[in-house]
Amino acid sequence: MITDRLLTLFGVDPIQWRALLRTSYLLLRRNPGVVKGLKTGSTSRVAGIVVMLIFYLILGIMFAFVPWGNNDPSIAASLVLIPTSIFLASLILLEFGATIISPEDFAVLSVQPVSSRTYFAARVSVIIILTLLFAAVLNLPSAVSISIRRGPLEGFVWVIAASANALATGMGMILLYAAALRVIPYRRLMTLLAYMQMSLSFLIYGGFGLLSSRIGGFMSGITMAVPWWWDFLPPVWFASFTALAAGIWTPLSMFLALCGIVLLAVLLPAGASKISLSYAESVARAAVFESAQRRPVRLRWMVSLLKRSEDRAIATLIARQFRYDIRFKMTVLGIVPLTALYVYQGLQGGGKFYDPFQQGLDIRGIAGSSLLYVAIILFPGILKDEIGKSDNFQAAWVFFTTPVDRAALVLAVKRVLTVYFLIPYLFLLGFVFYYFFRNLLHVLMHELVILLASQLLLQIAFFISPRLPFSAPRGLGERIGLTTLIMVAGPLLLLAMLAFFSRFFYTNAVSYLVGTSALGILVAIVERLLRLRVSRKVGGLEFAG
């Protein structure tokens, strides 16, 4: 076989390569995804990768409208390929990071006669296949749109540009991981990787925020004035392939296309020397050393804020998991950039923050600044879900064999989130409000309403899906659905809630007292109902290990 000869030529064992590839495929296909039902003991699951592919296909269909409505092929392609790169990078970062850095690989493979080269070839093949697969669902609808609008040649070149862009993104991410692994001592590696993921997430979400404002104008038919840094973006280089296919042979488009080709020519062989089994070894060692050699931080002061023993136990567990469970840490830190972006956009959008007690109903003001409030549900909402999952989920046997009130444990998670995340955030928000309102009483009154509203939202989140902490295995693509739900439904719900309060309760002191008391009573009632619901749900839970 030609493939075998080619692989052998590069020092790769073709039999082992195929075995590793086949196993990666099986592991990926069987990675559990979104749980379908909420019924106790439900085992009905959809493969995570299928959910993700459907989600990205919908995005891809939306992207297909960009080249359809515009005559500048290069900019249209750029506006699709830039977000594609962003999505692919974030996929590798958040969902398929373990495909690049998997300590489990080392545990199983280190005692097998697999060479570094063979291991590398299999890893890179998996990343390339995944990247091309997701690039296909994101970009093929656009290719179809182009083919219909401008002819099959341009559609074909679009496919080439999209593939090249996907390959460059995949290899670029591999190199980024590899470079970090090369320069950082392995004991510090995993912690640093978590922070690297957070920094990259900042870049990705920030870039996406910047881009989304421009796409709007372009789609409205306005000629887009590209900023000075536009041509430095690699997806723009690949996008210029489409300009050439459309007959736009300007020196700039030729130069940019050449840059794209050179980039691929550099990235592909550069990646070839970076991933090896010894690389997996450093990852595995890092995982071992992280847990074995770091001195635990005292938690007494932190835990002392909580009264109930369940709350203290859960706070300790979450803090320790954050410190030693690198995947949990990466997930938590991965939420920070998105939250920060919302806070930033909320502050930008609100302009001069309105004092709801003075200006009454100002729907534009509320809409502009509502993103600031989204952080209140975004962070605890996603975190609540993440706390339910762990690679160490089998350790949850302890919840089933000790005389603990399991419902109290679930509710303890809510209280811990309130004490350690919501209240500190509201405290910070208080400074922002005071800066704009200049009225401490108004700030405190407004904060009380937000605290109650956020409590209600958190109660709803727990009501929908009560889970024991760290008791379920992680699944692929689970976060996509939840994050999308929170990002879409969250602002709408908050907007409605704030508008309602501004209209009816912030008008005078009596209305405020009545409204806040009603909200407080509602929170208390829901808390009761929540306790009943959680008791009923977790009472029938079975150990998942």
Partner: protein, 267 residues
């Protein structure tokens, strides 16, 4: 009593370590370990928790690198020729990592592929092992659905499927039911008779005593005794290997310790 020279005369050496040392950040897990194991020998590797048994095996299997010292397995250097070494041994880890979403059959086929075994031969051998351990019916179930003992059986089958010259066994009987443990011990005896070399790490002194003609006892990373169970007992002036082990590793009288423990509990 069998001395070292006699062993080397009888058995060509399959495992050799010279001054093998592993230093972690603050302490030496293994300190200047030197020993040999001959072809067809079953050597028991004993020691209390944290003595360095698993660290030694991890170095010999290439999972971790020695800080200093050298070692060869089946005549190949573990640092310079790791792939050649790995082709020649099978390893049953203490707590085995498995790709748990694979089925038992798929996992064995995967390991067989990594060893370039013909797929038909591998399939036949996998079935034989699974049948021997009584889990052939569960061959197509995912490993995550297996019990601890069933997973251990798969790990044992995976270690044997390529018919290795050397076996590193780290607490291999963990979780095995009595019947399977008996079968496995019998397999080890036969493999040894056919020339396979076995390094058997365990805490279960009875098993080691019955299975291993030679024993190496480690404590705090160093060898503190080596020889047949009888010779070790004789040297320490004790009647049994268990008593000799306790004396060598500094454990006080077990009955006295238990009494003190229960007193501390207020019973």
């Amino acid at each position: 009593m069998m001395n070292k020279t006699t062993i080397q005369e009888i058995y060509p050496t399959m495992i050799t370590t010279t001054g093998l040392t592993k230093r972690f950040v603050e302490k030496d897990a293994v300190r200047g370990l030197s020993f040999t194991v001959g072809k067809g020998e079953i050597v028991g590797f004993l020691g209390p928790n944290g003595a360095g048994k698993s660290t030694t095996v991890k170095m010999l299997t290439g999972m971790i690198l020695p800080t200093s010292g050298t070692a060869t397995v089946a005549g190949f250097d573990i640092i310079r020729e790791p792939i050649e070494v790995k082709k020649r041994f099978g390893y049953v880890p203490e707590s085995g990592a498995l790709f748990e979403t694979l089925t038992g059959g798929e996992y064995l086929q995967f390991i067989a592929d990594l060893h370039h075994l013909d797929r038909d031969v591998a399939g036949r051998r996998a079935d034989e092992f699974l049948e021997l351990f009584g889990i052939l019916a569960q061959k197509d179930q995912r490993l995550q659905e297996y019990s601890k003992g069933m997973k251990q059986k798969v790990l044992i089958a995976a270690a044997l499927i390529h018919q290795p010259e050397v076996l590193f066994l780290d607490e291999p009987l963990n979780g095995l039911d009595a019947n399977s443990a008996l079968v496995f011990k019998e397999i080890l005896k036969r493999l040894s008779a056919q020339g396979s070399t076995i390094l058997f790490c365990s805490h279960i002194l009875d098993v080691v005593e019955k299975l291993c003609p030679r024993i190496i006892i480690l404590n705090e990373g160093s060898i503190i005794a080596e020889g047949t169970p009888e010779s070790i007992a004789l040297r320490t002036g004790e009647k049994t290997l268990e008593e000799a082990f306790c004396r060598l590793t500094g454990v006080r009288d077990a009955r006295e310790s238990a009494k003190e423990f229960l007193e501390a509990l207020g019973r």
